[in-house]
C-alpha cells in the first residue's frame, strides 16, 4: 500500500552548476525502516537527504515523499508533506539569537498561521509541550536560555526537540553526530533511536561512523559519486562492498 511507503525515488538526478551530484537514484523506503546512508565525503549523502525533504529539486526523474510528488504537487501539498518530515542537521541550523523555546516551537511553524508565529515571539505559545520535548531530550532546564549560549551537544538536543514537537512520520538526520565528540554523538544516536521506537517513526540518517551505521540500523544505502552502489540490510553487508565504497583513486584525492 502506498501509504506505507515513505519515500519513492525513480531515476532521480540532481545537477548543480554543471556537476552531477546525484545520478539515477532508485530508492524506496518503507514506513518504520531505519536506514543509514554511508559513503565518502562528496558522495551526495547530504544532497540525497535534501532531495528527500524537498529542499533540493530533482533535475531529472521523480521523487515522491509521503505520497506527494514534489515536481507536480501544489505548494500546499508540498508543505503538508514536509510538515511530516522532520530533519536534524549536522550544524543544527538553529537560530542562535532566539531562546531555546522559540527554536523548539519553530518545529510547529508548519501548523501555525503567520500571526500566531509572530505573536509567539513576543509571548511563547504552547510552552508546556515545548518544555516536555526539551525534557525528553534531557535539557528541560534550558527552556529560556539563548540558543547560541548552549553547548554543541545541547544545541543538537534542541534541534531534536524541534523535530519532536513537529510530530513527524519520518526523521531525516544529516550527519547528526559529525559535529559532536564520540560520547555526545552516541547519546544523540541513542536518543534518535529511542524516539523512533516510541513514536514509530521512520529514521533515515547519513553517517560517517561505520560502527554505528552497521551496528544500529536495519538497512544501509551506500553512495559513491552520486550513485547508489550498496543497498542491503545491515546483516548482509559484505566488507568488500564497504571497502569499495571508500576506495580512493589516488592518494590525497577524494
Amino acid at each position: 500500500m502506498a501509504g506505507d511507503r515513505v519515500f519513492e525515488l525513480r531515476r532521480a538526478s540532481v545537477r548543480l552548476g554543471g556537476v552531477d551530484v546525484l545520478s539515477d537514484i532508485d530508492l524506496e523506503i518503507e514506513a518504520g525502516e531505519r536506514v543509514a546512508l554511508i559513503g565518502p565525503s562528496g558522495a551526495g549523502k547530504t544532497s540525497l537527504i535534501r532531495l528527500l525533504n524537498g529542499t533540493v529539486a530533482a533535475t531529472g526523474g521523480r521523487v515522491r515523499a509521503l505520497g506527494c510528488d514534489y515536481r507536480v504537487a501544489s505548494t500546499r501539498k508540498i508543505r503538508a508533506a514536509r510538515r511530516r518530515i522532520g530533519t536534524v542537521h549536522q550544524h543544527f541550523d538553529l537560530v542562535a539569537q532566539l531562546r531555546a523555546v522559540h527554536n523548539v516551537n519553530a518545529g510547529r511553524l508548519g501548523a501555525w498561521p503567520f500571526w500566531k508565529a509572530a505573536l509567539s515571539l513576543a509571548r511563547p505559545f504552547e510552552v508546556a509541550s515545548a518544555e516536555a520535548a526539551l525534557r525528553r531530550v534531557g535539557i528541560g532546564d534550558k527552556l529560556r536560555e539563548r540558543t547560541g549560549d548552549l553547548s554543541g551537544g545541547e544545541q543538537q538536543r534542541v534541534a531534536i526537540a524541534r523535530v519532536l514537537v513537529q510530530e513527524p512520520r519520518v526523521i531525516l538526520a544529516d550527519e547528526p553526530i559529525a559535529s559532536l565528540d564520540p560520547a555526545r554523538g552516541r547519546e544523540v544516536v541513542d536518543l534518535l533511536f529511542a524516539i523512533s521506537d516510541e513514536t514509530r517513526t521512520t529514521l533515515v540518517a547519513s553517517l560517517h561512523d561505520l560502527d554505528i551505521a552497521l551496528g544500529r540500523f536495519d538497512r544501509v544505502v551506500g553512495l559513491r559519486s552520486g550513485r547508489v552502489v550498496v543497498d542491503t540490510s545491515t546483516a548482509d553487508v559484505r566488507a568488500a562492498d564497504v571497502a569499495e565504497l571508500f576506495r580512493t583513486d589516488r592518494d590525497g584525492s577524494s
Partner: protein, 298 residues
C-alpha cells in the same frame, strides 16, 4: 532582545490608538486665517494675532491664525481648505483664485493699489539711476537677482517691466538668481554677488529708514510704476461652513476697520495702511495677464 521588541510593539500600539482617538475630534468650526510669509514670522504672528482678536469680536466665531512658511504652501493650503481667509500677495492671490474657482477678493489695503518695486544696484556695477521703464535695458550685461520666485514685487512685476523694456532673462550675465527674500536680495547686491537686484519698495524704504542700508554698497537705480498687490481672499465655501452671508460680514468687518478705536489703530498700524478698501478681481487683471504670460498660472 525580543523582550525589548515586545515592549516597543506594545507601546507603539498604545500610542497610535491614543493618537487616533485624539484625532477623532473632527474639523474645527472656526475661521482660519493666514498670510504669505513675506516678512519676519514673529511680526506676522503679532499682526495676525491682533487681526484674529478683532475679527473674533466682530464676527463672533473662533478665529485661528495659521502660520505658513512658503508662498506656494499658502496657496496649496487655501486650495486644500485648511485656510479660509488669506492675505495673499498679488501673484499668489491670482494663483489661488485660478486653483479655487469661486474664491473672491474681499478687501485690500488702501496702499495696495499703489505698489512699486525698486531696482537696486551695487555702485561698483556702474549703473546710474534712471526713471524710464525703457531704460531698464541698461541692466543688460549685468548679473541680476530676483527675490522669491513667486513674489509679486520681487519677481513678477519686475520681470513684466523688464519685458516691456525689451530685456529678456538671457540678457543678464549668467542665470538670474532667486534669492528667496527681499532681505536676501539686498544682502546679495550689497556683497556684490549680484550687481543688480529688485525688491519691494516698501521693504526697501523700511530698511533705509532703519539705517540698515549702506549707500556706499547699494543704491536705488529705478522705481517701477504702480500696480496692485496684496489682497484678502476668501474661500467660496465660507458661507456654507460658517453661515449664510458670512463672507459679506467678514468683508464689512475689514472695511469698517478705520482706526476709530485703539485696537483698529493697532491693526492698521501693523498693516502699515490707512484703511481697507473693497477689492475686485478686475484690479488684478494685469497681474493675471503677466503671470499667465510667464507661465505662473495653472
Amino acid at each position: 532582545m525580543w523582550r525589548v521588541a515586545r515592549a516597543i510593539l506594545l507601546s507603539v500600539v498604545l500610542v497610535s490608538t491614543a493618537a487616533c482617538g485624539a484625532g477623532a475630534g473632527g474639523e474645527p468650526g472656526g475661521l482660519r486665517i493666514g498670510a504669505i510669509p513675506d516678512q519676519d514670522p514673529q511680526q506676522l504672528q503679532r499682526m495676525y494675532g491682533v487681526v484674529s482678536d478683532y475679527l473674533h469680536d466682530r464676527l463672533g466665531v473662533q478665529v485661528e491664525y495659521v502660520p505658513v512658511r512658503d508662498y506656494a504652501a499658502a496657496v496649496a493650503q487655501f486650495e486644500r481648505g485648511d485656510l479660509d481667509l488669506v492675505f495673499f500677495g498679488g501673484l499668489t492671490g491670482v494663483q489661488a483664485r485660478k486653483r479655487v474657482p469661486g474664491a473672491a477678493p474681499v478687501a485690500q489695503r488702501d496702499v495696495d493699489a499703489q505698489f512699486r518695486s525698486v531696482f537696486v544696484a551695487n555702485p561698483a556695477a556702474g549703473v546710474e539711476p534712471f526713471t524710464e521703464v525703457g531704460d531698464l535695458a541698461r541692466l543688460k550685461g549685468h548679473s541680476f537677482t530676483f527675490g522669491s520666485d513667486t513674489s509679486t514685487s520681487g519677481r513678477l512685476m519686475p520681470q513684466y517691466f523688464l519685458d516691456r523694456a525689451g530685456v529678456s532673462l538671457d540678457d543678464f550675465t549668467g542665470e538670474p538668481g532667486y534669492s528667496g527674500s527681499h532681505d536676501a536680495t539686498l544682502k546679495l547686491v550689497e556683497s556684490g554677488a549680484y550687481q543688480v537686484g529688485v525688491l519691494s519698495a516698501s521693504v526697501w524704504e523700511k530698511r533705509v529708514q532703519e539705517g540698515k542700508v549702506d549707500p556706499t554698497t547699494v543704491r536705488e537705480v529705478f522705481r517701477t510704476p504702480t500696480y496692485h498687490d496684496y489682497h484678502w481672499l476668501a474661500r467660496p465655501d465660507l458661507d456654507q461652513r460658517l453661515g449664510q452671508g458670512f463672507t459679506d460680514l467678514a468683508r464689512d468687518a475689514l472695511l469698517s476697520c478705520d482706526g476709530s478705536d485703539d485696537r483698529e489703530k493697532q491693526v492698521l498700524d501693523l498693516f502699515a495702511a490707512g484703511g481697507f478698501v473693497a477689492a475686485a478681481a478686475e484690479d488684478y487683471a494685469q497681474i493675471e495677464a503677466v503671470a499667465g504670460q510667464l507661465g505662473l498660472l495653472r
